[in-house]
């Protein structure tokens, strides 16, 4: 289900004194099964962009084409079908929970798409397993009596239950503590590995994206500033710092060492690889 975006522009409130250009001439492609990191500050346009990918917003100009269908003219049932294939998890998704039990909330999506009761059962069970929630333990609990982290997982399961081919997550780790962040990111990684689903992870945290993404899109003031593999992106450390995005701390360490003359490669962003490379260079001497 390839995604193609061509010269996409979006202007909020075009005829009023509050007009603002959120997106300007944005173009990119996403292939099946990719893990894309979308990074940028508040106001860079990333939240607006993802709402175009499932038709919640229509372009002011330009095109969004999903699996060959131009979204600009899609309405009604056709639009609903697009949303079945492109799942969107908003920020703080636990704020959208409303049902009496976890089971019923997760089944909201499948029910809207007219699935049979047995299909719904299956979907809910599968979705809960994917987010690491024990089916029997949680299915009858009220979503309002479980912890914040668990509520978030219920919300994500609610989107997974519609079986999307593309999963977009807007800052899924926002507001979580380090343990919670790690758990969610690990689960998303597993999901990507096991079901070949296309993932678009929106974040403003370089460290999160560095470890996991195949490709990174960097947005700045409504346009794409950089696009490429993590290695390519982190090579542009100056540009990133200038945009206030920074680079992973590990990469910073390695860059500083490189400045001092150590021959280290540019694309280091995990602690393990940094350790191995540095030790190789300095270990023989026993001390720096």
């Amino acid at each position: 289900m390839p995604i193609t975006v061509e010269s996409l522009a979006h202007i909020y409130m075009p005829d009023s004194p509050f007009k603002s250009v959120a997106l300007n001439d944005v173009s990119f492609n996403i292939d099946d099964g990719e893990y894309i990191g979308l990074i940028g500050h508040t106001g860079s346009g990333k939240s607006t962009l993802i709402q175009h990918l499932n038709g919640l917003l229509k372009p002011s100009s330009g095109r969004v084409v999903i699996d060959g269908i131009d979204l600009a003219n899609t309405k009604g049932q056709a639009l609903k079908d697009v949303r079945r294939n492109v799942g969107l998890v908003f920020q703080y998704p636990e704020h959208q929970l409303f049902e009496e039990t976890v089971y019923r909330d997760i089944s909201f999506g499948p029910k809207n798409y007219g699935l049979s009761q047995s299909e719904i059962d299956e979907r809910v069970a599968k979705a809960m397993a994917l987010v690491g929630l024990d089916f029997d333990k949680y299915k009858d609990r009220s979503p309002f009596e479980i912890s914040g982290g668990q509520r978030r997982r219920v919300a994500i399961a609610g989107v997974l239950a519609i079986n999307p081919k593309v999963l977009i997550l807007d800052e899924p780790t926002a507001g979580l503590d380090p343990k919670g962040k790690n758990e969610i990111l690990t689960q998303i990684s597993e999901l990507h590995k096991n079901s070949n689903i296309t993932i678009i992870l929106v974040s403003h945290n370089m460290d999160e994206i560095a470890r996991l993404a195949d490709r990174i899109i960097v947005m700045d003031k409504g346009t794409i500033a950089l696009i490429g593999t993590p290695a390519q992106i982190y090579a542009e450390a100056d540009k990133l710092e200038h945009m206030g995005l920074g680079i992973p701390q590990i990469t910073k360490v390695v860059n500083l060492l490189r400045q001092k003359g150590l021959k280290l490669p540019q694309d280091v962003y995990t602690i393990q690889s940094a350790r191995d490379l540095i030790f190789e260079l300095l270990g023989g001497r026993g001390n720096a």
């Binding site: 912890s147 380090p178 206030g244 920074g246 590990i250 500083l256 060492l257 300095l282 026993g286 001390n287």
Partner: protein, 277 residues
């Protein structure tokens, strides 16, 4: 130095909606002196938020004593003195603002204290100046960024002339720029205005800026010390599912691999300096 905040063997228990008794604080004791910048870290459920709310008497201890500037927080006749002395900034930037205009919101605190209108005006101007939001005085809060809203919240506390500011995860809902704004504002207030700061966070790169760090787990303080002392205990912290600054972890890994690297590395610059003097 006399202690500004004292916790003596404090316990806090409550009953949750499933009718279970939860022990949020399990006998903690510590002191904070005037002018200190203390960071409290721990994962969700460790008791750090409860600790914050006990300082300004939003919560009262089930057992033990909490004293602010010598006043027992259970003394209901001195409640407003305590809250004037220890101001609090919360996590959600939106849910702290009461007014449709920034300067009116900052005036809310002093108005509650019955301060004279002319003096309120002076305090509001000064507070907004201190946090760098003077130009936004007549703006509506709705259009501000998260970082700006939190700075207005801090101004609102400053206008009450507190001696202590307690911040309960003030940057959890902000982007990196907002986090920077808030942290640098707080650091400045601590260094220049000598305001005592109690800063609850789970961002380790913020905790390294403090004078002292308290690590909480299961309602107890398990590690205490300067940032260098605390963060060198990499394995202990990792076992509690807490993070350490990446440079610290890398230093730790290199040390294990055999390189001779001193304890207490906190930043990329320090590590680079040690590896390549």
């Amino acid at each position: 130095m006399e202690s500004l905040i004292e916790f003596q063997n404090v316990f806090f228990e409550y009953v949750n909606h499933a009718a279970e008794r939860i022990i949020a604080l399990d006998g903690i004791s510590f002191n904070i002196s005037q002018g200190e910048f203390v960071a409290v870290i721990g994962h969700n459920g460790s008791g750090k938020s409860t600790l914050a709310k006990l300082i300004n008497a939003l919560l009262k201890p089930s057992e033990g004593v909490v004293r602010v500037k010598g006043i027992d927080t259970q003394d209901s006749s001195r409640l407003w003195d305590i809250r004037r002395t220890a101001g609090m900034v919360f996590q959600n930037p939106d849910n702290q603002m009461v007014s449709t205009m920034v300067e009116e919101d900052v005036a809310f605190g002093p108005e509650n204290l019955g301060v004279e209108p002319k003096v309120i005006r002076l305090r509001v101007n000064q507070a907004l100046e201190t946090v760098g939001m003077r130009d936004y005085a007549r703006h509506a809060p709705h259009f501000l960024s998260g970082g700006q809203k939190q700075r207005v919240a801090i101004a609102g506390i400053l206008a009450m002339k507190p001696e202590i500011i307690v911040l309960d995860e003030p940057t959890a809902m902000l982007d990196p720029i907002g986090r920077q704004e808030v942290l640098s504002t707080i650091k400045r207030l601590n260094k220049e205005e000598k305001i005592t700061v109690v800063y609850i966070t789970h961002f380790m790169e913020e905790a390294v800026e403090a004078d002292r760090v308290l690590v909480m787990e299961n309602g107890k303080i398990v590690i205490e010390g300067t940032p260098r002392q605390v963060f060198s205990k990499v394995d202990e912290l990792k076992n509690m599912s807490l993070d350490v600054p990446q440079a610290t972890e890398l230093a730790h890994e290199l040390r294990i691999a055999g390189l001779n690297i001193p304890q207490g590395i906190l930043t990329a610059e320090e590590l680079a300096g040690v590896l390549c003097p």
